[in-house]
Every structure is written in structure tokens, then in C-alpha cells.
């Protein structure tokens, strides 16, 4: 029997005007593991969903062993031998693990009221194989996070797919669990299946993959072995920003004895997943600190903990005082203002109304003064005052979100992924505004970014957040040399 072959050619997926995947082509054979990597928004997940037919491709072809799959609904693609391990799953909580696996073994028929006689034995052997043997009769809500992931694996391989796609195979797992899962994934390969791993960076899957395909802004930018891709100029530029000029001020330049913000040993757990683990960092008055980390590293969780939006362990102090018992609103009033990744603008209000709401607490003259200053910082907003926020371009919306946050007269401005989904030309404008903010005010900035090119030039200090922990801390000019390996 000839080995399985997945041939993707010219795959394109558009959402309205947005091209999420552009002319993607690659070949994946049975007995091979391909890593599909790219930063957030690069189109890797969309590509995976297009192969399965969850998001039907706009153009191009997806052939598995010569059979055209593009255009088929997901359930038919699945029956042609494609399995997908979802990152987030919603198992049947009132059925046992064994029954959950059995569901995956059922035929898609309305007349089959009873599972086949061999279903039980099959389900048991699959469970054994992925290491669920001990928890067969438990219900999913009582399972540990890793076991829930095992259940997803079990369901995906129940029908012996020729192609297995795994979304972020190791997200939320401990080191020893990663090793076990790696072995399982290697077994899939050794059985002759084609395996596609989708992840944020090469590092996470390097030990496992035969080849890596890197995507950025919907396009393939590199393909080769893990080493080759890590050495690739384009990849390095996307992840590390290439050669950067930085103007970091040494920490000794800040004279406050107690840093304005101190985070000590902070931890956050979402359900069963560890979102933040023993994170310590500090920000001085007037300092610009960047936290770089890939999607899912824990940046937003960290910021939400500081803003009092999620419960945490450890201590967070503001000007020396614990924030633990304070509400999100009182923290915001104390001067910590977060500008979230999702921007949260009032779309059906004008630019001016959005800004006025931000400055709601200010007296009239102070608000007018503040507005004047902000229009100096973001001149484009002055011309757009009457326009509805949702009709602004992505870049303008981001500027408005930052401006609205600044209207609240923060002492610490938290910016979460301001560059997400923005075109490079907008980044330049945003960059200039941040530079001005840094040089002309005493506002401290805590910037969370996966785009290193954007995060490094302004930063006085940089933290690298990786899998819920701080992996590196230092000045931006030492980043590429010391932290790049942890980041690629």
C-alpha cells in the first residue's frame, strides 16, 4: 500500500476582505510529522480548519490520497480519514470516559440505536493506548487537564484517521506529560499516519517534527527541518525582529526606592490549566517594561491579575500596598489602566464620545486639556472625532483605545497586544506615539507583545513569559543573544 499523501495546493481562505490564508501549498506524507507554526494571526489555525472543512477553503485544493476534500463539509472530510485534536474540548460531561470514546466509534446513522458489540472492547483498547485505562469510568469534569487532552487524542484516533492534526499539542501540559504525549504522537507517525502539529513556535515541536512550515500573515515564509527554519532569516525577523536599535534606560535611572508595581510569585489557575506560575516582576515610575511571550504564554492573565480581574495567588503591590482585596474598579481609579487586546471600544459611539467616557471622572477643564494633549499624540483622532468607533480602521481603533485609556490619567498603562492584526505601516505610527509617551511623561507602561520588533525598541527592560513562567529578564539589547533560543 502506498503511503498516505496529503497535498495542499493554492489553499486560500478569505473572511470578507481579510485574507487569512494565502496560496498555501505543501505536501505531507504518511509516517511524517510536519509542524505548522506561526505567531498569533498568521493563519495556521485557519489553514488547519480549512483542511478539515470546518472553514471551507475559498480557493485551492486539498487532496488526501488523490481524493479532493476541498469544499466537502467537515463530517465528510473526517470520514475520508482526517482526525483533528482540538485544543479546547467540550466532552459529554454526564457520560463516562469510556462512553465518550465510544461516541467517536459510532457510525453516522440514525437507525443504530445500540453501539456495536465490539465498540466496548475497541474503546477500551484505545483508552489503554492513550493512558486513560485507570479513569475509564470517571466523568470528564473530574479528570485532570492532561487526561482531558488524552480523551481528545483518543476520540481523534478512534476511527484510524490517515491524517491526524493536533492543535497546540502541548499547551497547558507539564514537562513529564509533554514527554508522554510526544511518545504517543511518534507512535502515530510510526503507524504510517501523517501528523500535522500546529503550534506557535518551532521550539515547542522541534524535538518531534520531521519538517517545519512557518507561516506569517497568511503566507508560507519558510519550510524545512526545524534547524533550517530556526536559522531562516525571515523567521528570525518575524519572531526576533532582526537587528534592533534600542534606547533602554538603565534601571538605576529610576529613583523610586520601592517600584510602583511589584508582582511577587503570582499564580493563576483556570479550571485545571495553569495559566500563570510563580511570576515576579516590577515596574518603576516612568519605566517602560515589555513582557514578550507567544499567544497563550500568560500575558493577558498576568495583566488581568494586576487589574484585579482574576483571582491569583502570590502578591501584587501598587506603590507598596497590596491590591489583593481591592476591586477592579478601585484598582483602575488608583491609576492602573489596562487597554485590553480586544480593545473594547464602544463601537456605536463616536470617537469623541469614547474619549469623553474615558475622561468621565475628570472636571471639564482638565478633560479638555487632556483631550488637547491626546490629539497631539494621535493627530488622526482629531479629524475623526465625529466618526463612529467601529467604522475606524484597525490601527485607528487601537489608537483610540490607547487614547481612551490615557484619558483616565493612569500612572501605569497596561497595553495588551496593541499590534494584533495591524498592518506594518500602522505599527510605525503607533510606535512613534509610544516613544513620545515614554519621553515626555512619567506614565509607566507595561506592554505585552508577541511582536518583538514592536516591543523591544521602546523598552527599558524586557521579560520573556513562556508557558506561564518568566523565562528571562534583561535589557532589550541582550534579548536576541540570550533569549532568542527560548523564543523561536
Amino acid at each position: 500500500m502506498a503511503p498516505t499523501t496529503l497535498e495542499v495546493s493554492g489553499l486560500t481562505k478569505r473572511f470578507g476582505g481579510l485574507v487569512a490564508v494565502k496560496d498555501l501549498s505543501f505536501v505531507l506524507r504518511g509516517g511524517e510529522i510536519l509542524g505548522l507554526i506561526g505567531p498569533n494571526g498568521s493563519g495556521k489555525s485557519t489553514a488547519m480548519k480549512s483542511i478539515l472543512g470546518v472553514e471551507p477553503p475559498s480557493e485551492g485544493s486539498v487532496k488526501l490520497d488523490g481524493i479532493e476534500l476541498a469544499g466537502l463539509p467537515a463530517y465528510r472530510v473526517a470520514r475520508h480519514g482526517v482526525g483533528l485534536v482540538f485544543q479546547h474540548s467540550r466532552p459529554l460531561n454526564r457520560q463516562s470516559v469510556l462512553e465518550n470514546i465510544k461516541v467517536a466509534l459510532l457510525p453516522d446513522r440514525l437507525t443504530q440505536l445500540v453501539a456495536g458489540a465490539d465498540a466496548d472492547a475497541k474503546a477500551r483498547s484505545i483508552a489503554e493506548r492513550v493512558g486513560l485505562g485507570a479513569v475509564l469510568d470517571r466523568k470528564p469534569p473530574t479528570l485532570a487537564f492532561a487526561d482531558l487532552r488524552r480523551l481528545e487524542l483518543a476520540k481523534a484516533i478512534a476511527r484510524h484517521p490517515k491524517l491526524v492534526m493536533i492543535d497546540e499539542p502541548f499547551a497547558g501540559l507539564t514537562m513529564s506529560e509533554v514527554a508522554v504525549f510526544s511518545d504517543l504522537i511518534r507512535e502515530f507517525r510510526d503507524e504510517g499516519r501523517a501528523v500535522l502539529l500546529v503550534d506557535h513556535n518551532v521550539k515547542g515541536v522541534a524535538a518531534l517534527v520531521d519538517r517545519v512550515l512557518a507561516m506569517y500573515l497568511g503566507e508560507k515564509i519558510a519550510e524545512g527541518t526545524a534547524d533550517e527554519v530556526m536559522r531562516d532569516e525571515k523567521v528570525r525577523r518575524v519572531y526576533l525582529g532582526g537587528a534592533l536599535g534600542t534606547a533602554a534606560r538603565p534601571e538605576t535611572a529610576f529613583h523610586d526606592a520601592v517600584p510602583l508595581l511589584q508582582v511577587e510569585g503570582a499564580g493563576v489557575v483556570y479550571g485545571k490549566a495553569l495559566a500563570l506560575q510563580d511570576v515576579s516582576l516590577h515596574v518603576h515610575e516612568g519605566e517602560f517594561v515589555s513582557v514578550v511571550g507567544l499567544n497563550g504564554a500568560g500575558k493577558t492573565t498576568l495583566f488581568n491579575a494586576v487589574s484585579g480581574l482574576v483571582p491569583y495567588s502570590g502578591a501584587i503591590r501598587w506603590a507598596g500596598e497590596s491590591l489583593k482585596s481591592r476591586s477592579a474598579a478601585s484598582i483602575a481609579c488608583a491609576g492602573i489602566v489596562q487597554c485590553p487586546e480586544s480593545r473594547e471600544l464602544f463601537g456605536d459611539m463616536s470617537v469623541r464620545e469614547n474619549l469623553d467616557l474615558g475622561g468621565n471622572a475628570l472636571p471639564d477643564d482638565a478633560r479638555a486639556e487632556r483631550l488637547e494633549w491626546l490629539f497631539g499624540l494621535f493627530p488622526i483622532l482629531e479629524n475623526r472625532q465625529a466618526q463612529l468607533a467601529r467604522t475606524l480602521s484597525g490601527g485607528e481603533q487601537q489608537m483610540l483605545a490607547i487614547a481612551r485609556a490615557l484619558m483616565m490619567k493612569p500612572r501605569l498603562l497596561i497595553l495588551d497586544e496593541p499590534t494584533l492584526g495591524l498592518a506594518p505601516v500602522i505599527l510605525e505610527t503607533l510606535s512613534q506615539a509610544l516613544e513620545k509617551l515614554r519621553n515626555t511623561t512619567t506614565i509607566s507602561v507595561l506592554l505585552g507583545e508577541q511582536n518583538v520588533t514592536f516591543a523591544l525598541p521602546h523598552a527599558d527592560r524586557v521579560y520573556v513569559l513562556d508557558h506561564a513562567r518568566i523565562a528571562w529578564e534583561g535589557p532589550p539589547d541582550r534579548f536576541e543573544e540570550e533569549a532568542a533560543a527560548a523564543y523561536l
Partner: protein
């Protein structure tokens, strides 16, 4: 664990049925008449639970299906009696509900999120307007009186309703626990993943809708020949639909049995408190609100108590 849970539900169902079977020995005709209505409502609620609890689709218009069944049966009988058997009318009612349900669900199930529910809501309003506008055929706002009834004996009517509820309940419960029921639950919970496992989600949900429509229409048609009249206020009005929905959630969704308990509870309470006049509705609604707020698993959840793992 599951075996115990399942058997527990079955036992609760059997205990209910036993109580229902013994009741005619000592209950008055008034109580039996009340329960007859409650049993039909129980079937409405159980059919609704199959869609909401298992397929994950909120059908705001159970009365669209019920009304189609009831009015089709009623109109046929009113026009053709005595040349037609009422059982033929009942069968036609069930068939009309299935066809109407299919015509509605085919396009509506392609919609996502709350739009399916909204479509079903609009369908009820359409049916209601149709009945009012074509008063010559349907009896309009005054209602349609049908010449035939199944029986004038309270006991007989009770047994028909009771038997019908028991059989429908057993079928719906069995379906929900079957392999198909599992696929339906998986589709309701995460349709993308169900698709990735090779299940045609639309097909399974459509089948659930058809089954739900069949039992709703059948129950509606039977109830017409118990009451001898069909009116918008008893079969089609949004308020009736809301009562069916509340019954299912109050009793305990995703259990089928719970929906029946909820319906019987709701109808009985309403009647018990009737001397209080308008206050009765208020009290029943308030109890329903409390249960939904504090016991999301409904009356059955309270009954099962510590059975949850």
C-alpha cells in the same frame, strides 16, 4: 456510576407511573381530568427537552408543532365528521406537525446561535395569525369546536392520556440514552467537534426535530379530542409555549423524565392555587424562578440530591 444514575432515573419514572396507575382507584373525576391535561403537557415538555437538552437547540415555539397537530386534527374532524375516524384525524395531526416542523427546521437549522430560536418564535406568531385570519376554517379567536371526542368518561380519558404519556416517555427516554442520543448530545455540545468525528450534525438535529414534532403534534391532536375544542389560548399562544419550556427546565433538563415531572407539577400547582385567583400565577411563576435560579438541575436534581458526582 452512570448505570446507577440511569437506573435511578428509570426508577423515578417507574415510581411515577405506578402512582399514576393507582390513582384512578381513589381520585375524583376532577383530579383525573386535571391530570389528563397534565399528561399531555408532559409529552409537550418531554418532546421539547429532546431538542433543548440533547440537541442543544432552543425551540421557542413548541406550540407551533402542538398547534399544527391540534388544529389539523380538529379541522379535519369538524369538516368531515362523521365520515372520518378521529384516529385518522390524530394521525393527520401528527403528520402535519412533522411536515410543518421539517419545513421550518430545514432552513432554520442552518442558522447559528439564537437565530434558530427566533425563527421558531416567529413561526408561532405566523400560525397564530393564520388561525385568526382564516376564522372560517379555524374558528378564529373564538375557537374551533370538534364534533367528536374520544370519550366522555373521565377514567377512560385518563387512561388514554396516561398510556400515551408512558409510551411516549419510554420512547423519548430510550432514544436519548441510545447511540443516536449520544451523537445528538455530542452535536448539541460541540457541533464543530461532532463534525470532525464524522457526524452529520444537521442530519441528527433534524431527526431530533422530527421526533419532537411528531410527539408534540400527536399530543396536541389527542388533547383536542379530549377537550372537544381547539383554541389559540390552549394550543398556540406563546404563553402556552413558555409554560412547556418552564415545565421542562423546572423538572430537570436533559432527563426527559424531569420534563414530565415539571409539567405535572406546574399544572397541579396552578390548579391547587386557583382559589387565590391571579395570585396563583404569580406564586407558581415565583416558585419556577426560584428553582431555575438555585437548582439548575430542576426538581429532579433536588430529588436526586447527592447523586451528582
Amino acid at each position: 456510576m452512570r448505570a446507577m444514575f440511569a437506573s435511578r432515573l428509570v426508577w423515578i419514572g417507574i415510581a411515577m407511573l405506578a402512582a399514576g396507575a393507582l390513582l384512578p382507584l381513589f381520585a375524583s373525576g376532577y383530579v383525573l381530568g386535571l391530570l389528563t391535561v397534565a399528561f399531555y403537557t408532559a409529552v409537550f415538555a418531554m418532546s421539547w427537552d429532546l431538542l433543548f437538552g440533547f440537541a442543544g437547540e432552543v425551540n421557542f415555539g413548541p406550540t407551533f408543532l402542538i398547534g399544527l397537530g391540534a388544529y389539523t386534527a380538529g379541522i379535519l374532524d369538524a369538516r368531515l365528521s362523521p365520515h372520518i375516524s378521529i384516529w385518522l384525524c390524530v394521525a393527520a395531526g401528527a403528520a402535519a406537525a412533522v411536515i410543518g416542523g421539517l419545513l421550518l427546521a430545514l432552513p432554520a437549522l442552518r442558522l447559528r446561535g439564537p437565530y434558530f430560536g427566533l425563527t421558531t418564535l416567529v413561526a408561532v406568531l405566523l400560525l397564530q395569525s393564520f388561525i385568526v385570519v382564516f376564522a372560517g376554517l379555524t374558528g378564529g379567536e373564538i375557537g374551533l369546536s370538534v364534533p367528536d371526542v374520544m370519550s366522555i368518561d373521565a377514567n377512560t380519558n385518563y387512561w388514554i392520556a396516561f398510556g400515551f404519556m408512558a409510551v411516549s416517555g419510554a420512547i423519548l427516554f430510550g432514544l436519548s440514552r441510545s447511540a443516536v442520543g449520544l451523537i445528538l448530545q455530542a452535536s448539541g455540545q460541540d457541533s464543530v467537534q461532532a463534525g470532525a468525528l464524522g457526524f452529520n450534525v444537521v442530519k441528527h438535529k433534524l431527526a431530533a426535530f422530527v421526533v419532537s414534532a411528531f410527539f408534540s403534534g400527536l399530543a396536541g391532536a389527542l388533547m383536542v379530542f379530549y377537550m372537544g375544542t381547539a383554541s389559540v389560548g390552549t394550543f398556540v399562544d406563546i404563553a402556552v409555549g413558555v409554560q412547556v419550556i418552564i415545565a421542562a427546565i423546572l423538572g430537570g433538563r436533559r432527563t426527559v423524565v424531569g420534563a414530565a415531572i415539571g409539567a405535572i407539577f406546574l399544572i397541579s400547582m396552578g390548579e391547587l392555587l386557583r382559589p387565590l385567583g391571579e395570585l396563583a400565577t404569580l406564586i407558581v411563576s415565583f416558585i419556577a424562578l426560584l428553582v431555575i435560579l438555585f437548582f439548575p438541575d430542576g426538581l429532579l436534581g433536588i430529588l436526586r440530591g447527592g447523586a451528582r458526582s
